[in-house]
């Protein structure tokens, strides 16, 4: 469609390890309620960043600001070498940024196949759809079995698979995952995380928002800790070993004066 519509070939793709997503001093609010007070963090290409923090710290708001669902009040967001601050959500999505929202992130009233078709047709054109569907079903055979079922009748785990299948087939640049394990049984969480590893392995970078900090840290290269709308740590996972709990809960750090 437009120049922004994911014609990635013409864009100088950000190289492995370089900053793919950069938030600089980003603020956001819901009406009069401020949620973020100057958040800065970086997701590097091909890596996974875990964003952790207590309830109400603003993790979901970071995800929504990145994908354009919630407008920023200040600061800038750069993605794939371009300034995306203030861009509408659909344009950001077409640039190769996907988001799995907390809880349900598929259209319950549409069938499995319609859910996939909706984004495939936009990205690949009408001719590309059958091939893309075939690849999605190959990656997740259970989706193929349920292709005509409405997505609302899928189990929570299957719904996550459906959302991930879309990302995997379209080879997105970045996937923002908001509480992937929310409401899932532990055994299902394992399954879903395996799928997420495949997404990461396929070259998609991850911004991982998770209350199960241990899970997230297994996959993540870096970690950012959010507390009351501010980033209190941003760096390699190794640098935070042992004091993550204190940071998340906002306890004073004994190591610093």
């Amino acid at each position: 469609m437009t120049a922004t519509a994911g014609d990635r070939a013409t864009v100088e793709a950000v190289g492995e390890g370089q900053p793919l997503l950069e938030l600089r001093d980003v603020g956001a609010s819901y009406g009069p309620y401020e949620a973020l007070f100057g958040v800065s963090l970086t997701v590097r290409a091909g890596r996974a960043l875990a964003l952790v923090g207590a309830n109400g710290a603003g993790k979901s708001t970071v995800a929504r600001v990145v994908s354009g669902l919630v407008p920023t009040t200040r600061g800038t967001i750069r993605f794939d070498g371009r300034d995306i601050t203030g861009r509408p959500a659909y344009e950001i999505a077409r640039m190769g940024l996907s988001q799995l929202t907390e809880g349900r992130s598929v259209f319950a009233s549409l069938t499995v196949e319609e859910n996939l078709t909706l984004s495939f047709r936009r990205a690949l054109g009408r001719r590309g759809v059958p091939d893309a569907l075939a690849r999605a079903y190959a990656a997740f055979p259970r989706l193929g079995e349920r292709r005509t079922q409405s997505a609302g009748t899928l189990s929570g785990g299957e719904q996550r698979m459906l959302a991930l299948a879309r990302v995997l087939v379209l080879k997105q640049r970045l996937l923002v995952v908001d509480e992937l394990s929310f409401g899932l049984a532990p055994v299902v969480v394992d399954e879903v995380y395996t799928a997420l590893e495949r997404v990461l392995a396929s070259g998609t970078s991850l911004l991982l928002i998770e209350q199960h900090v241990d899970r997230a840290l297994v996959l993540a290269d870096d970690v950012a800790v959010l507390s009351k709308g501010r980033v209190v740590y941003d760096g390699p996972v190794a640098g935070v070993e042992g004091r993550l709990g204190d940071l998340v809960l906002g306890r004073p750090d004994p190591g610093e004066g």
Binding site: T101, E114, R121
Partner: protein, 700 residues
């Protein structure tokens, strides 16, 4: 069977038109979250364009194409762009008022533009309307019936294909579930919902054009009735299902003809047909869930602030019950700010000038009325006082409680008729009659409140609208109530040797009655009940949870509000000397709500100003050429456009501005630098938005 067909077949064209309306309403509601009551007006505008073009000698196909495919979508897109897109997530009241305003204003605007209402019966879009082309069994089918049915079938088939088999159909279904998630899939949801608006506007336009030949002349009222039928169809479709809405509309069209056919002639039978929508609404509205599938991303919206902002004046009481148990974080925050020592002082200092100003203006107005003002002006002012009482009923019901009623004029009319009938037949003094009228209206208020207890917001508004329609058709035409269009006489009061028949004494009496009514509203607002009402307005669930009997409270406040309206109506009747059903028809209720919402639902002053402004403007336009008779409606309709930005109402907005300016200057003089614009220094217009419903909203 043949007899049934004889009745049912003429109902089919009506049913088709109702179905088109119902489907269009559901379509926009689902795709853009707005229940577009201006839909009836859109149908009228296109019908008017069609008939006007036809009379100017355009070929019928060209008139149809221009009216349905050009003007219809154009109006729809304009409404979407200018208005509805901005209020998608607003409170029910803020969504409802503009569409009501437009429902009344658009037809009048179109008439002003077109010059006059065409009076020649419009032709059918194809074929000869009257000629019988074929028979179904023994039932003749005219060109009109055939053309309407054929057009509907084509449109419905087109819709089915669109939704099932096209990309934009898939995208529309996605947008219906969650516009935001659709955006995350890379689809421009705004464009998709604009397309849905175009589509539904075409359906409204088509319904209008198809319907126009069924009436001998184009009258906006017929299209409001059409809207109500469409709403009933949409309610059968539970605001969600297009096929059900279609079937519902069709069934209603046939049912109304069948009912009329089998019932013996008489007031009840004549009234039963127009009251079918009310019955349907009462039965089906409780089945409606606001959204079929929840939007998982709805918490991205800033919490809706309008229900509170609309009633900023009553805020002093609003942080009590709901903030109990600290559920309302904002309430706490707000109290803390107001508790700052400095701010309280400035608040008092700042508030005084505007209040003083209001009292001075009011006093001067009353003084003028009693001395030099000419009699016809005095009459207008007195009408304003009567309407101020009716507006007070909305201040109480909608302003304090957040319940939307579209039948306040019905209560007013009933109160007036009661007072008049008692005076005429039993010689009861009219002042006692007013009390009796108020009591009767209160009883009726209870009757309306009880079946609608579980409704709120839009469904409640629709149910009360349907009730008003029912009363117009079944109650008011009876000779022992309103005596139809002929009306009844209502005498001026006298108490022993003192007569209030003359203009000035009557004006004084009216002021006293207004004072009493305003006192009641103030007592309720400032008292425990007011705090309960504020809690209910904040959240019914939360109010229930802290032990408030919400249902009892709602019945009580409905009764009280109806009583106020009844007293106002009786006063108005006594002032005019006579009262007819036309004075308080159902469309008046819509106008009343729009007017008082624009001026300000948040204060007693708002109701008084609304009364004066409303009557004065109506008198003012009578001096204009007849073409501009609808100008008041147009003005208020257009004012609703600004209302969406300032739901606190014109009055609060203005006094907020003045207070901020004064505070600025004062603090400047004191050398503190400019005062902070915000809640602290009395910027009423810029008060912080309220918390979301702590129980329902605000998850995540």
């Amino acid at each position: 069977m043949t007899q049934f067909l004889n009745y049912a077949v003429p109902g089919v064209p009506f049913g088709c038109v109702f179905a088109l309306m119902a489907v269009g309403l559901v379509l926009t509601y689902k795709a853009s979250g707005v229940f577009n009551l201006a839909f009836g007006a859109q149908a009228f505008v296109s019908a008017l364009a069609y008939v006007s073009l036809d009379q100017d000698g355009w070929p019928r196909w060209a008139s149809t194409v221009i009216a349905v495919l050009v003007i219809g979508p154009l109006v729809g897109v304009l409404l979407d762009r200018l208005l509805f897109r901005r209020i998608r997530t607003a409170s029910p009241l803020v969504k409802l008022v503009p569409s009501l305003g437009l429902l009344v204003a658009l037809p009048q605007l179109a008439i002003i533009i077109a010059g006059s209402e065409p009076s020649i019966p419009p032709p059918a879009i194809v074929g000869n309307a009257q000629r019988v082309y074929l028979h179904l069994g023994s039932v003749p089918l005219s060109g009109l019936e055939l053309s309407i049915s054929a057009a509907t079938v084509v449109v419905v088939a087109g819709l089915v294909v669109l939704f099932r088999f096209t990309p934009v159909g898939l995208e529309m279904r996605a947008v219906v579930e969650s516009p935001r998630m659709t955006e995350l899939a890379g689809v421009n949801a705004g464009r998709v919902s604009a397309f849905a608006w175009i589509l539904s506007s075409i359906m409204a336009a088509l319904a209008g054009v198809l319907l126009s030949p069924l009436y001998s002349q184009l009258d906006p009222q017929n299209f409001t009735v059409l809207l109500v039928w469409g709403v009933a169809g949409a309610v059968i479709g539970r605001f969600a299902s297009l096929p059900l809405a279609l079937v519902g509309g069709l069934a209603l069209g046939i049912a109304q003809q069948v009912v009329a056919g089998y019932m013996p002639a008489g007031v009840i039978a004549n009234g039963l047909r127009p009251s079918l929508p009310f019955v349907v609404l009462l039965v089906f509205l409780p089945l409606v869930r606001q959204r079929q599938v929840d939007d998982p991303l709805s918490s991205c919206d800033p919490p809706s602030s309008a229900s509170e902002a609309a009633t900023a004046g009553f805020r002093s009481a609003s942080t009590v019950a709901t903030s109990g148990g600290a559920v309302h974080s904002v309430g706490v925050w707000h109290q803390r700010l107001e508790g700052l020592p400095g701010s309280r002082m400035t608040g008092i200092l700042v508030r005084r000038p505007t209040a003083t100003f209001a009292w001075v203006v009011g006093g001067l107005a009353i003084l003028s009325a009693l001395t030099w003002v000419p009699p016809d002006w005095l009459l207008t002012m007195n009408q304003g006082v009567a309407f101020a009482i009716i507006f007070l009923s909305l201040t109480l019901l909608t302003g304090m409680t957040g319940q939307i009623s579209l039948c306040q004029a019905t209560f007013a009319g009933l109160g007036g008729f009661m007072a008049g009938q008692l005076a005429n037949h039993f010689g009861l003094p009219i002042v006692l009659g007013m009390v009796a009228g108020g009591l009767l209206a209160a009883g009726l208020g209870v009757l309306v409140a009880i079946p609608t207890l579980r409704l709120a917001g839009l469904p409640l508004a629709l149910a009360t609208l349907a009730f008003a329609l029912l009363a117009d058709n079944i109650l008011f035409p009876n000779s022992w109530i309103g005596n139809g269009a002929g009306g009844i006489t209502v005498p001026r009061p006298s108490a022993g040797p003192v007569s209030f028949a003359a203009a000035k004494p009557f004006f004084l009496l009216s002021l006293v009655i207004l004072g009493v009514c305003a006192g009641v509203v103030k007592l309720v607002g400032d008292g425990t009940m007011g705090r309960y009402l504020s809690a209910v307005r904040g959240s019914e669930l939360a109010a229930n949870a802290v032990g408030i009997d919400v249902y009892r409270l709602r019945v009580l406040v409905f009764a009280l509000s109806a009583a106020l309206a009844g007293v106002g109506g009786a006063l108005f009747g006594s002032l005019e000397g006579s009262l007819s059903a036309n004075d308080f028809g159902y469309q008046i209720s819509a106008v009343l709500l729009v007017v008082v919402a624009i001026v300000g639902l948040g204060s007693i002053a708002g109701a008084v100003v609304a009364g004066v402004v409303y009557t004065t403007l109506q008198v003012a336009v009578t001096s204009l050429p007849s073409r501009f008779a609808g100008l008041v409606a147009v003005l208020f309709g257009l004012a609703t456009l600004s209302y969406t930005r300032h739901p606190e109402g014109f009055l609060d907005f203005l006094s907020g501005r003045v207070q901020t300016a004064i505070a600025d200057r004062r603090s400047h003089r004191l050398g503190d630098g400019p005062a902070e614009h915000g809640p602290v220094d009395g910027g009423v217009g810029e008060r912080p938005a309220a918390a979301p419903d702590p129980v329902i909203g605000g998850a995540g």
